[in-house]
Amino acid sequence: MDKTETNLEEALYSAEGWGRPQTRDFKALGDIHVYAEVLQVASVEPFVTEEKLLSPEEGLRNRFRKLLLIQGPTKTNVRAVLSLLQRFGWLSADDKSRFMITPDGKLVAQLPPHAFRRVVAQNLHRTYTIPGWFVSRLYDLNPVGQGEIILPAPPKQLGLGRREWVKGDWATELDAVVKAAGNHANQVLSGAFPVEIGIWLSKVREVWERLAAGSPPIKKGSGGVSVQSRGNTTYGVRERLFHAMREAAIELLFGIRRPSDRGEDFPLGPHPIPYRAFTVWCPRLSELEFIFYTDYHPRITGRLIVPCGAFRYASGTPDFEEISGVRDRTGRTLHLFQPGWDRIKSRFLGVLLAVYRDESRRVGAFYVSLLAVRDEVCRQLRLSNLLFDSLLERAYEEAIKETAVNGKQFSISLESDIRPEQQSAVGLNQRPVYIYRVPHSLIAIGTNRNARV
């Protein structure tokens, strides 16, 4: 692309208000802890290399992602992280592929976790544009619902069996499943899936057919030779439908054009956040406290996403924290909802108790899933996972100290059993609630007979 075309493109991006992304390569997007760890190593060593970071003795530690143990990063990941930190200006490289920490990097490495997250957020937005754009898009999709969005999925208990790979044609009974999923989203949360059902069905079928035309996964044949055989491979019908629905929803909701005025957020560009990028961005944005999302809300089939902040001209109240450098098209800055305990405790405990009671009635048990309660409380109060953990910790302390709230006492019991459903492949993928750095899974709340919180 010559200079004239580049200038034109820049002009188009400027006119639309969103900066042109410096890169779309999402290989470097990993846990923020990895960035912090690399900087810590770089700040005490004269330099770091890929080999050093990969070595079992000196390299990056194993860590937990949700309840799964991640056995260290891959070479590709490490290379991408080093490149990204270099792009941030925190590392510099010599001609021997050795990376040294810069003065900016040293300052950042000393930041406490909260401040480190904010700096990473600003730099990721500057590099990718996606963090701020994503929050803005949520509000654009559902302005009345303050950005609450559901990406529909087929019901978990829907048994659809397996079929031979070659038999990939669409079954008409799937029409009803797809329509029901779309309608369910809007019934549970009004406006959460702002797509006309006919268009939705058509897009899901289009993606399904694209998936069906593809090659089956590679598997080992005899002698350890990898084979791809359409003839004797099967696919899970529900799994394919899930994938088709997810990809279709992403294409429809997070495309180039804004739903509000059909303007283009990324003119001349590809889809801003295709399927694979989306699966990587959601956990990152959640870690940055830009959004809360869950695939396991007890009343929602599909992925629920809610923003944990909004673009504002000013904070207005102490409940908001400005993230400078993350601006929208109109020049407003992103403000994350970060109320202090004293300002939110009454509302937090009220919602916590109401959600707990609903869940207790629903399952008919005194101890209920803390993750299910967390999902609904965060949705209602627009809290990030981290903020919920810290608020619940405070609530737990207050309960132990028998501190009354609104004149009434309450008791919170937390258990850290790993429940049977959490030991499944699906269960291991749910982020636990950390209280005093220990994952907890069950909660029970008692109050005085006439307690009002």
Partner: protein, 459 residues
């Protein structure tokens, strides 16, 4: 001496009965477990106590849908009993209704129900989780085992023995009522005492079965083992084999057994299938589709004796969740034209059980109380309850009979503990409040509450 070795219980039935003296009852009239347990000796649980007034219109509807009469009104091959009071279908009294219909039909082989125009049997079928019942052949095996346990196969053999003059008139006169047939015409020992050659008799029955189209091997087993209710199940090895049922199950039920029933001059067989969710919920989409298509083939328009004769009438109990799961497959199989499941067309072949209202609740409570009255003069009344108390119990339990009966059981226990003589609304309220108040069944699709947080700037 070890007194624990020889110690005996000190509670006597007399003491237990005295507990309810203040209420003038011999026992707590309401079931502790308000669920149907057909084999239970407790009349409160086995369906023996039944309020005919409760669903009299449904009973009439049931006969219209499934039982042939002299007027030759067309009957349905598939009909539905829908729990319309709750989405999850629990406690409305479906099982009790079905069991009662079965009991009435089997008491006289449908003579009263059909006005003498038909000879009927009714089987009450409950799918089990183990063995699983997801495929149609597994369902056929369940039908066979149920008809065997409930003596329906044996009934056919007993009729075949008696209908064609193979047994002397003098012996036939001693056979007795339906409840005695197992020990008379069904017993080889009794027949031998009456000077009947049982080998020849069984041979004649076998020949008649073969003549009606039943395969020779099946005819032999039915004729020679079928007179004893446990005979075929215990002694006929293929009945235990999955491969037999996979290969021949549907033909066994919907072709060969129909021929046998026809030979025994049965007009119709009513299959009362309860808890259909135990089949449907566990099926995957392909199994569901295949099951529904098999229903159409074997019950409506396939190449089998049952479809030709419309012999079996099947009543399927469903609730709204099952209706939703089945609808797409029902339509895909074309059954929506023949036995519509979708509303509003479903009304033509569906009985709806709705939540109780006051006019239904009072007779229900009365029939339970009457069974345990100490004084005949108290029968037909609702005391010790006041009318307000019964209505309160109804409200607290959402109009679902199972929950209402359970609440009344607890109220009676409380009143017996306190030696009360009357039960008013306040007492019902108190007992109901001691346990968490359950909200009415919520639709899973109800809207979640809106966020109370406003993140956007105020304008």
């Amino acid at each position: 001496m070890n007194s624990q070795l020889l110690r005996k219980p000190t509670i006597t039935p007399q003491q237990q009965a005295n507990r309810y003296d203040s209420l003038r009852l011999s026992d707590n009239p309401f079931p502790q477990r308000p669920t149907l347990v057909p084999a239970s000796p407790d009349p409160r649980e086995n369906g023996a106590i039944y309020c005919d007034d409760l669903h009299s219109d449904k009973a009439s509807g049931f006969r219209q849908l499934l039982i042939p009469t002299a007027e030759a009104r067309p009957v349905h091959s598939i009909a539905f009993l829908m729990d319309a009071a709750s989405r999850r279908g629990r406690g409305i009294g479906k099982s009790a209704f079905l069991k009662h219909q079965q009991t009435q039909i089997m008491a006289d082989l449908g003579e009263q129900a059909s006005g003498g125009a038909a000879v009927l049997f009714a089987a009450y079928i409950v799918p089990t989780a183990s063995p699983p019942c997801r495929k149609f052949w597994e369902f056929c095996r369940l039908l066979f085992e149920t008809m065997s346990e409930q003596k329906i196969l044996s009934l056919a053999i007993w009729r075949l023995r008696g209908l064609h003059g193979d047994i002397p008139e003098a012996a036939l006169a001693k056979v007795g009522g339906i409840e005695q047939w197992e020990d008379t015409i069904g017993s080889d020992k009794w027949l031998i005492q009456e000077k009947v050659n049982t080998w020849e008799l069984n041979q004649r029955v076998q020949e008649r079965l073969v003549a009606s189209g039943v395969p020779e091997e099946i005819a032999f087993e039915l004729a020679h083992r079928g007179a004893k209710p446990s005979g075929i199940r215990s002694n006929w090895a293929p009945s235990h084999s999955d491969s037999f049922w996979r290969r021949s199950g549907p033909n066994m039920i919907f072709d060969w057994l129909v021929k046998m029933f026809r030979a025994a001059e049965f007009t119709r067989g009513i299959l009362l299938v309860d808890e259909l969710e135990k089949i449907v919920v566990h099926q995957n989409i392909l199994e569901r589709r295949s099951f529904v298509e098999s229903l159409r083939y074997y019950l409506i328009d396939g190449n089998c004796q049952n479809a030709r004769d419309k012999f079996f009438g099947m009543l399927l109990t469903i609730h709204p969740i099952i209706q939703e799961l089945l609808l797409a497959h029902w339509q895909a199989a074309g059954l929506d034209r023949l036995a519509p499941l979708n509303e509003p067309e479903a009304k033509q072949c569906t009985l709806y059980l709705l939540a109780l209202d006051k006019s239904m609740a009072l007779p229900l409570v009365t029939v339970y109380l009457d069974h345990y009255r100490k004084l005949p003069g108290d029968r037909g009344k609702i005391k010790p309850f006041s009318e307000d108390a019964v209505v309160e119990a109804l409200i607290r339990s959402g109009g679902v009979p199972g929950k209402t009966l359970n609440l009344l059981h607890r109220v009676i226990e409380y009143a017996a503990d306190k030696a009360l003589t009357k039960i008013g609304k306040d007492l019902v309220d108190k007992v109901a409040s001691e346990e968490p108040v359950l909200p009415p069944d919520k639709e899973d699709l109800s809207t979640l509450p809106a966020t109370p947080i406003s993140l956007a700037e105020e304008q």
